[in-house]
């Protein structure tokens, strides 16, 4: 079936099987490999993207469900060479170790601050409950999100 999805501001069309998962469309059809596949069971959040501005797990959506919608991936956050504030805060606060969960963490964190621009540490930890980090790096991830919130209340897309 033919679908058209606005990905990172650009209309992208493709011919997909109905059973094609959104994450496979993004990675394999569009070459946007920043979105990682982790658990493949909607647990780990590595595949988190934004659908119509809200965080979602792209392994648990059909590409067909995104037809006509707006999707943002990690590749769509930076403005040219200027990192999104959340990306920069992860960099400055060492909010990653191996980096595999990072794209999903950043996307979830941006969505979190959209909904709650000035969260407490507890609210950040609860707000990231859908994202797992196997390096046990949560401490600096939380620190990065809090730094981003403090730097610019409402820092978002």
């Amino acid at each position: 079936m033919q679908i058209t999805v606005t990905v990172n501001g650009v209309e992208r069309s493709g011919d997909v099987e109905p059973r094609t998962l959104l994450v496979h469309f993004l990675r394999d059809e569009l070459g946007l490999t920043g979105t990682n596949i982790g658990c493949d069971t909607s647990s780990c959040g590595a595949c988190t993207i934004h659908v119509d501005g809200q965080s979602a797990k792209s392994c648990t959506m059909l590409a067909a469900q995104a037809d006509g919608l707006t999707v943002t991936t990690i590749e769509g956050l930076a403005d040219g060479d200027t990192l999104h504030p959340m990306q920069r805060c992860f960099q400055e606060n060492h909010g990653l170790q191996c980096g595999y969960c990072t794209p999903g963490m950043v996307m979830a964190a941006v969505s979190l601050l959209d909904e709650n621009p000035n969260p407490s540490e507890t609210e950040v930890r609860i707000g990231l409950e859908g994202n797992l980090c196997r390096c046990t790096g949560y401490h600096n991830i939380v620190k990065s999100v809090l730094a981003c919130a403090a730097e610019s209340t409402g820092a978002s897309k």
Partner: protein
Amino acid sequence: MIPASFDYLRADSVDAAIAALTEHGDEAKLLAGGHSLLPLMKLRLATPSVLVDVGRLDDLRYINDAGDHIAIGALTRHRDLEISTLLAADAPLLSHAAGHVGDPQVRHRGTLGGSLAHADPASDLPAVILAMGATLVATGPNGTREIAAADFYTGFLESALAPDELLTEIRIPKLDTQGWSFQKFNRRAQDWAIVGVATVRANGSTGVALVNMGSTPLLASAVMDAVKSGASAADASAHANEGTEAQSDINASSEYREHLARVLVRRSLEESGLA
């Protein structure tokens, strides 16, 4: 993991969805947010040959004050419930529990109707609508009918919905709530409840329902009867396992679940204000 092949139909109206269900019968499944169904399809535990996507039926996405009840469209998402000021005022148990379903990403996509119709005994919201005495509205080829929440769950992943019916609205009675509580015991933040308890005390009566204590979501009728006849929270909670059939699985033995049910029912009654 990729689901088995299926044909995809996107319904642009309730009538179109029902027509598709009527045409394809048992072969078809409705797709709303997909956060219960797609994981099962990826594991090939569900292999429908036709998916009818009702996720774009935005006219079924609403939370309205309807006088003596709150009317919620079946396509309303968990996040909508979580932040609804109307629910916070008149049905705080529902908005609170909706904020504990899965994780934020799941709550952005998952829907109330999808969660209820999936009829998973481990889900949070079926117990909530049981405790609150909600009414479900099903729409089929011959129009709509109302189903009491207490009559909705008929077996494991089975509901009173006919194969050609679509759950369209959930009606939550406006209660003069004196107290409420939602207890969810799990080991990791986003896990299903190993056991959960939803309690609402309102209009002189107490509704208590159990998550994951049998093949369906369950009303804790014996606990409710005990409270009605004046039992304390501690005494009433001794009845928590009457009528249950807790299963053993990788997370817990049935004995452990029964222990949890007693403890969580007592906590839930106490948190909702019962001495």
